[in-house]
Amino acid sequence: MTAETASAGAAPSLANVSQDATRVPGEPKSRSWLVRALVLVIAVAWTVPTAGLLISSLRPEVDVSGTGWWTIFAHPFELTQFTVANYERVLTAEGLFGAFINSLIVTIPATVIPITLAAFAAYGFAWTRFRGRSFLFAIVVGLLVVPLQMSLVPLLRLYGNYDLVGTFVGVWLAHTGFGLPLAIYLLYNYISQLPKDIFESAYIDGATPFTAFTRLVLPLSFPAIASFAIFQFLWVWNDLLVSLVFLGTNPDVAVLTARVSQLVGSRGAAWHLLTAGAFVSMVVPLIVFLALQRFFVRGLLAGSVKG
C-alpha cells in the first residue's frame, strides 16, 4: 500500500484498491450461482433498511402510518402515491432547514482549519529532525485512540467561563482539536513518503523550507489532504456528541443530528416526519461519499493498512 500511496498515480476505485495483480490464466474464477446469490443477498439486505426509509419519506402521512412501505411495490408506477409534503413540513415547520444551514456552518470551518494546522505539523515532523520529535509524535499516535469523552467535562467548564457554550467558534475549535491527531497522522504518513530527490533539487534551486512546503509538499499531498478532508467532513457532519455538548439544542445553533435526535424524542410516532428528517440529514454525506468515494477509500487504507 505504501508504494501506491506514495506514487502520484490515479486514486484507486473500490474494486481496485490495491495492486492490480494480473490473474494467472486458468485460475478458477468462480462465477457460480452460489457466490452470486450470496453476494446479492447480503448486498440487498444491507440496502433494504435505507431504501425503506427513503420510500417512506416520500409517502403521505396516512399511508406511512397505515401500511408498510413495501406495499408500494404492488403498484410501483402509480406516481400519485408519492409526495414531498413531508420534506416541506420538516424543513419549515420542524425547522430542519435552519439546522441544515447550521450543520454547514459548523462543518466547513471545522474541516479546513485542522487541515491547515496539520499540514504544517506533518511537514515539520516528516522532513526535519529535532530534539523531542519522537516524543511529540508518539503523543500524536497515542491521542489517536483516546476517547474524546475524556475532554468533555473540563472543556465545557472552561467554555462556560468564556461564554463559548452555544457558539460556533467554540465548536469549530473543539472539532479542530479533536480532528488534529488523525489529520497529522495521515498527512505525516503520506508526506514522509515523498521522494527525497525533489526536495534536494528544490533546495539547490534556492527554495526555503517554507517555499518547498507551499510549492512542492502541498500540491503533491493533494490526495492525502483530500481523503482527510472527506473524513473530517463526514465526521463533523455526522457527529452528535460534540455538537450536543458544545452547541446544544437551541434551534438557532443546533445542527441536524441534534435536531433529528430531538425529533425522535418528541415525535417518535410521526414516521412521515422522522423518515424525511433523517433523510435530510443523510443527503449531504451521501453525495460527498458517492462523489469522492475513491479518495475516501484511499484515506481508509493509508490510515490502517499494513504497507
Binding site: 505504501t2 473500490l14 495492486q19 435505507t50 475549535l173
Partner: protein, 384 residues
C-alpha cells in the same frame, strides 16, 4: 467515524532534510524561541476567536461568521506561518534551524495539548470529586461504578458490545470481500458500494433507519409498519417489541453498528486479499487444495496483521459508541453502555464527578491499545 489503529509499516525511511547542528541547539535562547514560535498561532487563533464578541452573538449573520472563520482559519494561519518563517530566516542560521521545526509542528501540538492533553489530566482529577466538583470524594465515584446496578449493567453491555460487534463485523466483512472478489469487476464494485454506503450515514440517521425496521405496534393499533414485525406476522407468529426485551434488545442495537462497520472492514480486507501473491494461491491449488483450504491456509495467514488492525479499529469505535444507544433507547430497557452513561451523567444529570469517572474508565480500557500503538510507532521510527 473510525479511528485507524496504527499498523506496522514497512516503508522507506525518509531522510531528514535539516541535519544542521543547529537542529540540536540547546541554548536557552533557542528553547525560548522554539516555545514562542509554537505558541504564536494558537495564541492568535484563540485570542481572535475568544475576544471578538460579534462571533459569539447568535444574531450575527451566519454567512459572515463562516467567511471570517474560513478567512482567519486558513488565510490568517497561513500568513502567520509565513511571517514566522520570514522572522526565522533573518535569525542567525544556527538558531533559525533550531527554531523552525517548532514553528511548523508546534502550533498543532499546542492545540492538542489544550483540547486533549490538558482536559484529560483534568478529567482524572475531577473523577475524584463530587458532582459539582467542590469536594474531594476519593474513590467514591469508582466505588459506585463497580457496585451500583445501573453502572454494572452499562459495563456488562459495553463488554458484550466489544466482544460481539468487532468479531461479527470482521467476519461478515471478510466473507463479503472474499466472495465479491470472485465476481466480475463491475458487479464487484456495485456490490461493494452497497455494503459500503452506510459508512456515510450518521449514527443518528442509522438509528432512525433501524427504529423503523424494529417498529412494533401492539395488537389493535394497526398494521405492522416495521419490516421485521411485518415478516413475523406474515409467517404467522406474534409481533415483538424488539427494543424492549432485556438483553436481546442489546443485540438488536448492535446490529445497527455492525451494519455501519462491515463496509469499513470489507474495504480494508478486500485490498489485503488482493495483495496476496497469486503464485502462492496457484501453487496450493496445483497441490490439490480446495477453495476453502486455500482461504484457510494461504489467504487468512497472509492478511492476519490486517485482520488484527481492522478488529482493533472496530473495537475502539464500538467501545466509544454513544449515539446509537442515546437515540434508540436513551439507555432505557437495560441497554445503557459506558460511553452513553458518561454523557447522561455529565450532560443530563450535571454530575461532573461521575461523568469524569466513567470517562476515565473508557480511557483506561483503551490504554493497552494506546501503548501497543506507540511502541509499534517507535519501533518503526528506530528503523529510520
Amino acid at each position: 467515524m473510525t479511528t485507524p489503529a496504527v499498523a506496522p509499516v514497512d516503508e522507506v525511511p525518509p531522510q531528514p532534510i535539516s541535519e544542521d547542528p543547529g537542529a540540536r541547539n540547546n541554548s536557552l535562547a533557542a528553547w525560548l524561541l522554539r516555545i514562542g514560535s509554537a505558541l504564536v498561532i494558537p495564541a492568535v487563533l484563540i485570542l481572535f476567536f475568544f475576544t471578538f464578541d460579534f462571533l459569539k452573538q447568535e444574531d450575527t449573520n451566519k454567512l459572515l461568521q463562516v467567511a471570517v472563520a474560513v478567512a482567519v482559519g486558513v488565510g490568517g494561519i497561513w500568513l502567520l506561518y509565513w511571517g514566522m518563517d520570514r522572522a526565522i530566516s533573518v535569525m542567525p542560521e544556527q538558531i533559525g534551524n533550531a527554531v523552525r521545526p517548532f514553528a511548523f509542528a508546534g502550533p498543532a501540538m499546542v492545540l492538542l495539548g489544550f483540547y486533549l492533553v490538558y482536559p484529560a489530566v483534568n478529567t482524572f482529577i475531577l473523577s475524584f470529586q463530587s458532582a459539582d466538583g467542590d469536594e474531594f470524594v476519593g474513590l467514591a465515584n469508582f466505588q459506585r461504578i463497580f457496585t451500583e446496578e445501573t453502572y454494572l449493567i452499562s459495563i456488562r453491555n459495553s463488554v458484550i458490545w466489544v466482544i460481539l460487534v468487532p468479531i461479527v463485523a470482521v467476519v461478515i466483512g471478510l466473507g463479503f470481500a472474499t466472495l465479491s472478489d470472485r465476481l466480475g469487476k463491475r458487479s464487484e464494485t456495485v456490490a461493494k458500494s452497497m455494503i459500503f454506503l452506510p459508512m456515510a450515514i450518521s449514527f443518528v440517521g442509522a438509528s432512525v433507519v433501524w427504529r423503523f425496521v424494529y417498529n412494533f405496534r401492539p395488537e389493535g393499533f394497526g398494521e405492522q409498519i416495521g419490516l421485521l414485525n411485518a415478516v413475523k406476522v406474515a409467517t404467522g407468529t406474534d409481533p415483538v417489541d424488539w427494543i424492549s426485551i432485556p438483553l436481546w434488545n442489546n443485540l438488536f442495537l448492535m446490529v445497527i453498528l455492525i451494519w455501519l462497520q462491515v463496509g469499513f472492514a470489507m474495504v480494508i480486507l478486500s485490498s489485503a486479499i488482493k495483495a496476496v501473491p497469486v503464485d502462492e494461491i496457484e501453487a496450493s491449488r496445483i497441490d490439490g487444495a480446495n477453495e476453502w483450504q486455500v482461504f484457510r491456509k494461504i489467504v487468512v495467514p497472509s492478511i492476519a496483521s490486517t485482520l488484527v488492525v481492522v478488529w482493533t479499529t472496530v473495537l475502539i469505535t464500538t467501545w466509544k459508541v454513544f449515539d446509537i444507544v442515546f437515540v434508540m433507547t436513551g439507555g432505557g430497557f437495560d441497554t445503557s453502555v459506558v460511553a452513553e452513561r458518561m454523557v447522561t451523567e455529565f450532560f443530563t444529570f450535571g454530575n461532573d464527578g461521575m461523568g469524569s469517572a466513567l470517562a476515565v474508565l473508557l480511557f483506561v480500557a483503551v490504554l493497552p491499545i494506546l501503548v501497543i500503538n506507540v511502541k509499534r510507532f517507535q519501533e518503526q521510527e528506530r528503523l529510520r
